[in-house]
């Protein structure tokens, strides 16, 4: 039987390798990017710009947090983008069209998101449809529903000025509240992931689903729970984006899921499951925003921005694969 000395050494090793390294690298990369752009570009260095980076990350960050839960279970959720839009439409329907107060509209939007997530979960856990296909299908379903319910027209929130004030108002440090909401959501998500049963089972499922099932855990129920969480965060994203644009735009949203997944992966969440963190995901989301905004300020044309962002995502996944191979 090996002694504890050997296992503490292996704990050190897994700290240096493993996902902490990825998170460390991600943070380093973010700092590097910020410093780089700040140095080479004066307009980047403004408070205004840093604030817009923060705001730009808010929506993607929230979506990416939900996606993190799902990816940790070795699943994927392609529907977070359009679900976000769907939920913003629900918010619009409740608040603007039905004239109900905001404190009814917000929970309604969140519930709608969780419901979509639950449907994903049921399709995946009970009907055994592969996550890629199930969520791809729901991507289209929620997109369609959003357009049907809104009659393909934006829903404006001018009648509810407190909506904008609540979310985009600058309560502290001249930074819009959405940013604090994102960080707040991040703290809650992180606690749930690391300290609760839901989080523990998400890691267990991603690590070895069969072993988890054989250990007597109700794998189906917990999968549904995880996808519902992703849906819930998509709902929150819908509320935030509606606030930013003071309207629910039914045609927006497709493509957001890719940025969400990219943020999670860059931040160290492994697509093969069992590994991931909210902190890493938030860093990943910031990297994407910083890169996008920085490149555009510096004058890089949109097409090249896409190329560079794509290269960064591929690089991050490649690092993930290298890291996994080394620790296998």
């Amino acid at each position: 039987m090996q002694t504890t000395k050997t296992t503490s050494r292996s704990r050190m090793q897994s700290l240096v390798k493993g996902e902490s390294l990825q998170r460390f690298l991600a943070l380093g990369a973010l700092v590097l990017l910020l410093v780089f752009f700040s140095v080479i570009s004066a307009p980047f260095r403004t408070t205004e710009n840093y604030t817009s980076i923060l705001v730009a990350t808010a929506v993607n960050g929230v979506l990416a947090m939900g996606a993190t839960f799902v990816i940790i279970t070795a699943g994927i959720d392609l529907s977070v983008g359009t679900t976000m839009t769907f939920c913003s439409v629900i918010l619009g329907l409740v608040v603007t069209n039905a004239g109900l107060p905001l404190w009814l509209g917000v929970p309604a939007a969140l519930a709608a998101g969780a419901l979509v997530g639950a449907v994903n979960g049921i399709l995946i856990a009970k009907a055994k449809i592969p996550p890629f296909i199930a969520t791809l299908g729901m991507l289209n379903v929620t997109r369609g529903l959003a357009q049907i319910l809104s009659d393909v027209k934006p829903i404006y929130f001018e009648g509810t000025p407190q909506f904008y004030d609540l979310f985009m108002g600058k309560s502290f440090f001249g930074i819009p509240n959405v940013v604090f909401i994102m960080f707040g959501a991040g703290i809650i998500a992180s606690l749930v992931l690391t300290r609760t049963v839901l989080g523990r089972y998400a890691f267990a499922l991603g690590s070895n689903e069969e072993a988890t099932r054989l250990s007597g855990v109700n794998v189906d129920a917990w999968k549904i729970a995880v996808y519902s969480v992703a849906g819930l965060f998509a709902g929150l994203g819908g509320i935030l984006i509606a606030a930013r644009m003071t309207s629910a735009q039914p045609s927006v949203g497709m493509g957001y899921e890719l940025d969400a997944i990219a943020a999670a992966v860059i931040g160290g969440t492994s697509l093969s499951g069992g590994v991931g963190s909210i902190v890493g995901t938030i860093i990943g989301a910031f990297i994407i925003s910083t890169l996008t905004i920085g490149l555009s300020i510096v004058g890089v044309p949109d097409q090249w921005k896409l190329v560079i962002t794509g290269v960064v995502i591929i690089g991050a996944v490649f690092l993930d694969i290298l890291r996994r191979r080394r620790s296998a």
Partner: protein, 504 residues
């Protein structure tokens, strides 16, 4: 003696295409270590998995502590006080030792959904102290050696303070010291009144630790004996049973002395431990052994399907580097895998396409276009030569019978001009009639001068077909028998023996 802890009667279980268990019975007394033995496919694991809630029985009754029960899930078994140490490790590599052991039963903190990690690790430490185990509760399971992972699996099963503990080959990855420790724990449990089912093929071990031995064969219950009174030989005889041979077994003719293939000191981790052998021209070399003995692994290593850590492969006396199946095929080696549907055939493609699959280059023109005239001719030749029963060359292979599919795989390798053929379980899933055709085919191939390695778990088959038989156990060759001297008992003895054959 008191009431029985477990009483299983008339248990039957079928999987699609396989009748795994037929009216089996098993009983377990409190304070008893009850060994469960049998050959590959005898049904031991299946029977115990039913008891552990992993499979549902099709028929029969189970009584636990005198009460009739339905064990619908692993959770239900746990609630009944039954826990199992699996043969294959069932751990979540990304989680820590403590998290694995207490999954589903984690101590909660301030609220019922919040975990108390400190208490979790403390509970684990307590458990390890009771079991005298030196494990770090916070170590990530993937960072542990296999033996330690097995100890985690054991600790997990023992943490349930169950009345019934099922151990399926628990000592496979352990050293002698660790095994002694495990036995100490088992004896302690026994004193506490728990009942232990010990599935193993290590008969000498079972002699040390068990009170009774139950033997199963071909999904049926054979007998239960007192360990102290039964000899290892008698247990082996029951495992093997008497099988009816055909009146005149076809003995293959004597092979050439030329060594076509030689393997020296092949090693791969713990799965292949220093394997060396020779294959002569025109010979059928049988390789026998129990599941997990490493036979398929050796075949795959020789074929380049898996990498090997050390060792040499020589073809016609010349060392060759075989790192991929492409290398192996280039040197004239073909491999017919156990699972022909998964690894041997492109099921949705037709007979013609499958026959030329391993040698397509030969049928391609300069621009890479396939010369269909030539492929058709080659496929027709094979269909005629091997008497492949197919309505046409365009028939999808998926629709053919098992025996016919096997012939298509053989055709593929013959078209690729391979002179060394490795057959892994050649007649698995093939009905009796087609089997003898495959045997005749093997003989013909040997007589043509091809050299054959035949891996089989069916003892009558190995005895009937082989010129020589190698027996493997736990990654080593433990015995070599000529056709004349080989018997089922001798093979089983070698197959359950842990020490390697002394170098010949």
């Amino acid at each position: 003696m008191g009431d029985l802890l477990v009483e299983m009667t008339d248990i039957s279980k079928s999987f699609p295409g396989v009748h795994a268990l037929d009216s089996c019975r098993f009983e377990l007394r409190p304070g008893e270590v009850h060994a469960l033995v049998g050959e590959n496919g005898a049904g031991k694991s299946t029977l115990m998995k039913i008891l552990a809630g992993i499979y549902r029985r099709d028929a029969g009754t189970i009584l636990v502590k005198g009460r009739e029960v339905e064990i619908a899930s692993p959770r239900a078994a746990q609630d009944l006080g039954i826990s199992i140490i699996h043969q294959e490790l069932n751990l979540m590599g990304h989680l820590t030792v403590a998290q694995n052991i207490f999954i589903g039963r984690e101590p909660r903190g301030a609220a019922p959904f919040i975990l108390d990690e400190k208490r979790l690790n403390a509970k684990a430490r307590e458990l390890f102290e009771t079991l005298h185990l030196k494990l770090d509760p916070r170590a990530r399971v993937s960072s542990l050696a296999v033996a330690q992972q097995q100890m985690v699996e054991i600790a997990k099963a023992l943490s349930f303070s169950s009345d019934v503990l099922i151990m399926d080959e628990p000592t496979a990855a352990l050293t002698d010291t660790e095994i002694d420790e495990l036995f100490r724990i088992i004896r302690h449990l026994r004193e506490r009144g728990a009942g232990i089912v010990h599935i193993s093929h290590r008969l000498e071990e079972l002699k040390q630790i068990s009170e009774r031995v139950t033997v199963m064969r071909d999904g049926r219950y054979v007998d239960t004996v007192q360990t102290a009174e039964a000899s290892i030989q008698s247990i082996i005889s029951k495992m093997v049973g008497r099988t009816i041979f055909e009146a005149t077994p076809e003995l293959p003719e004597h092979p050439d002395p030329e060594v076509v293939l030689e393997v020296r000191n092949l090693k791969r981790g713990r799965v292949i431990r220093d394997v060396s052998f020779q294959l002569h021209r025109g010979e059928i070399l049988g390789i026998s052994g129990l599941v997990g003995a490493g036979r398929t692994e050796v075949a795959r290593a020789v074929f380049g399907a898996d990498p090997h850590d050390a060792g040499e492969i020589l073809i016609h006396g010349k060392p060759v580097a075989i790192r991929t199946p492409a290398n192996a095929v280039a040197h004239g080696i073909g491999y017919l895998s156990e699972d022909r549907r998964r690894y041997g055939l492109a099921l949705i493609m037709n007979v013609e396409a499958n026959v030329v699959l391993a040698s397509l280059r030969k049928f391609a023109g300069r621009l890479g276009q396939i010369k269909f005239g030539r492929t058709k001719a080659a496929a027709e030749e094979q269909v005629k030569g091997l008497a492949i029963k197919t309505p046409s060359l365009a028939q999808r292979v998926r629709n053919l019978s098992g025996g016919t599919q096997q012939k298509v795989v053989v055709a593929k390798w013959l078209t690729a001009d391979t002179e060394i053929l490795i057959f892994d379980e050649p007649t698995r899933g093939i009905d009796v009639g087609a089997k003898s055709e495959i045997y005749r085919l093997l003989n013909d191939l040997a007589q043509q001068g091809r050299s054959i390695i035949m891996i089989s778990s069916e003892l009558p088959e190995i005895l009937r077909m082989s010129h020589r038989i190698l027996v493997m156990c736990e990654g080593r060759i433990t015995g070599e028998l000529s056709a004349a001297e080989a018997t089922q008992e001798k093979i089983m003895t070698f197959a359950t023996q842990r020490e390697a054959l002394a170098a010949a």
